[in-house]
Amino acid sequence: MNHQGHLFDYPRFLARMLWRAIDGTWRFYAWMTMLSALALVGANAWAHQVASGLGTTGMSDHVSWGLYIANFTFGVGLAAGAVMMVIPAYLYDDEDMHDVVIFGELLAIAAIVVCLLFITVDLGRPDRFWHIIPGLGRFNWPVSMLTWDVLVLNGYLLINLHITGYLVYMRFLGRKPNPRWYLPFVFLSIGWAISIHTVTAFLYSGLGGRPFWNSALLAPRFIVSAFITGPAFVILMLQLARRLTRFPVGQGALNTLTNVLRVTIVVNLFMLGSEAFTIFYTGGQHETAGRYLFFGTHGKHALVPWIWSALALEIVAIGLLLGHLKSERPAFLNAACCAAFAGVWIEKGMGLIVPGFVPSTLHEVVEYVPTLVEWKITVGIWAVGAMVLTVAIKLVVSVLAQVGAPESAQHE
């Protein structure tokens, strides 16, 4: 088969698989219909927001980033964490992990789609989107960290699309994947996963005027928390896949991921604690943001319930993981994953982005509360992410589970 052939067959293969992936049980249709409805509500809210301005959000000149950038930051962590599963699979040659690596990569793809959507809805002028495309607009690279983020996020999306697409296509053709065509990319994606979250942390930590973010620990914290959300989500996803599809999910992979989660969730709390120590023991003007976040200041307390529920969720997750260690009950593990995921979502989202702005650089305390429009758009974007992930998993599983009788893509 020549390369010309693949050039035409691969898109045809994708289209055919996509067509097949949207076939399903009534449960699948109900799930997709619900997600579509949520996505449409979000799309409608966004259209309103574009037409009448970002004043429809709770943001202001004092708190100029809010729920969207919080979710963007969390999403980057989810994408990075998902691919971190590649590390045990390939670097430590853990055979059990090989089969589930592809789930991590699919999650990474869906998470990056979510991130790009959150950035888009945060723009005041989405119609000027092309100004940020290298070559077309004026790309302020390498000075602006945001241009680095554009490059690494889109690059990461392409790398993961290539790896998953190649592996599935080869399996479909009934051929053994040639390591030359995917292994270098797998290793590249490991380094790249670290880079997307490091660059996203540098976006904030490089700003001298925002002491709450201006910490060298921010990038390591981001990486560690990525190692919580990625494995937590994949553990839940694998168990669902085991229940709903014919795809064989080994216990080995689940054990490895649980072990990773047990360590990272504690390290993350340790890092949060050492940030808190530095802020409060040093005191002075730089303490204000921390005081506002944890206890409220000047009679304003909007973030206090958020951060304490994050801490509570993370501590509960640690307890549940210990419980799981003793009894091996899956219910413990699943609850721990949910709690850890929600805890980090708050800690790294609202608990990290908003206190960077409160107090403002001139120490005015203006609070931020997301509006209904922001919640609608946020839910809508996560619904789109869930749709992308569902279809991608169905597509991959339908190919991987189809043992024997390999068809050729050439014969339609």
């Binding site: 949207i22 076939d23 579509s36 449409l40 509500v41 799309a43 409608n44 259209a47 309103h48 574009v50 037409a51 009448s52 301005g53 970002l54 004043g55 943001m59 202001s60 000149d61 004092h62 100029s64 980033w65 950035i119 945060d122 723009l123 005041g124 002028r125 989405p126 119609d127 000027r128 989107f129 100004h131 940020i132 607009g137 004026r138 790309f139 302020n140 000075v143 602006s144 960290m145 945001l146 241009t147 554009v150 976006l203 904030y204 700003l207 001298g208 005027g209 925002r210 003007q285 204000t288 960077g356 702005f357 107090p359 403002s360 650089t361 001139l362 120490h363 005015e364």
Partner: protein, 300 residues
């Protein structure tokens, strides 16, 4: 009908319904899109425009202002003058916190009336402290109040501006005469510059600015006080549409105490040079290395 055919029919029906619902959901955009012309969409960054392109754009902005606000305005493209770099100094001993400067800015720069926006925020500070934490910009009583002094803050026109560094699309830059400007027609509205500025000097157009027709200042600059579009960032430009023509900034002219000193840093005989050489001046947040061109001093 076979099961296969029924499935195809259902999928086609679902896709049609989905597309229709999506079109309906996006309907609010139809009210917004016509305000945007193709020429505007394709417009290049200010620094890539030749004089012919600039002429067309200025004429289009004037035309659009006439259509949308019913006012004839003149939009100029004032360029930096060779041999001039602007500096500003403010005498904290005489400032009484009356906020006439902020009000003059509000009118001069065609700010949105509803939000009472201004590029200047005046802080009432506690005598004996330089801690903004103890100050407030929301005071509402007769000034000057005992035990207080007043600190107006606006764009510091930094020589090392963090806002310019972070902009992903080079929509903001420092001009030859030291003024940091924004191309309102190029900004994508990501607000990274607002996060990066240590002086709270930047503002975002959360809605389309609204100004009563008769209050619009018709003397406008492309890079300064023209009525801004929705969804872009703006900032103090030292009133470049005035100062590049040899006039003084509106905030200085409005100041009743003479606290404000503005001039050419390159002219050894200018007032600003006299202040810098004879007063003990300081800048805000010097430790951040932003190198402001806005100076403060105490007289007594």
């Amino acid at each position: 009908m076979t099961d296969q055919k029924r499935r195809v029919a259902l999928k086609v029906l679902g896709a049609t319904l989905g597309a229709a619902a999506f079109a309906k959901a996006m309907e609010p955009l139809r009210a917004w899109a016509p305000t945007l012309s193709l020429a505007e969409f394709l417009q290049r960054n200010y620094r890539e425009l030749d004089s012919e392109a600039k002429r067309e754009i200025l004429a289009r902005i004037e035309q659009k202002t006439l259509e949308e606000h019913g006012v004839e305005v003149n939009v100029h493209d004032d360029r930096p003058i060779d041999g001039i770099e602007f500096g500003y100094a403010l005498n904290l001993s005489v400032c009484t916190g009356c906020r006439r400067c902020a009000e003059a800015c509000h009118h001069e720069n065609n700010h949105d009336r509803a939000t009472n926006n201004s590029y200047i925020r005046v802080f009432e500070m506690e005598q004996g402290s330089f801690d903004f934490e103890k100050g407030t910009a929301d005071y509402d009583h007769a000034v000057p109040a005992p035990g207080k002094y007043y600190l107006p803050v606006q764009c510091q026109q930094c020589d090392n501006p963090p806002c310019v560094d972070v902009c992903p699309v080079q929509a903001t830059w420092k001009e030859r005469d030291g003024i940091v400007v924004v191309d309102y027609d190029w900004c994508i509205g990501c607000r990274y510059c607002e996060a990066a500025c240590p002086y709270h000097a930047r503002r975002f157009n959360w809605h389309k600015p609204e100004i009563p027709k008769h209050e619009i200042n018709p003397d406008q600059g492309y890079l300064s006080n023209r009525i801004r579009p929705q969804g872009v960032v703006e900032k103090c430009t030292f009133c470049l549409h005035r100062t590049r023509k040899g006039q003084l900034p509106a905030c200085l002219e409005a100041c009743p105490t003479g606290a404000r000193v503005f001039g050419n840093l390159l002219d050894p005989n200018s007032d600003i040079r006299w202040v810098l050489e004879n007063k003990r001046v300081f800048v805000l947040k010097e430790e951040l290395g932003t190198n402001p061109r806005f100076f403060y001093f105490f007289d007594k």
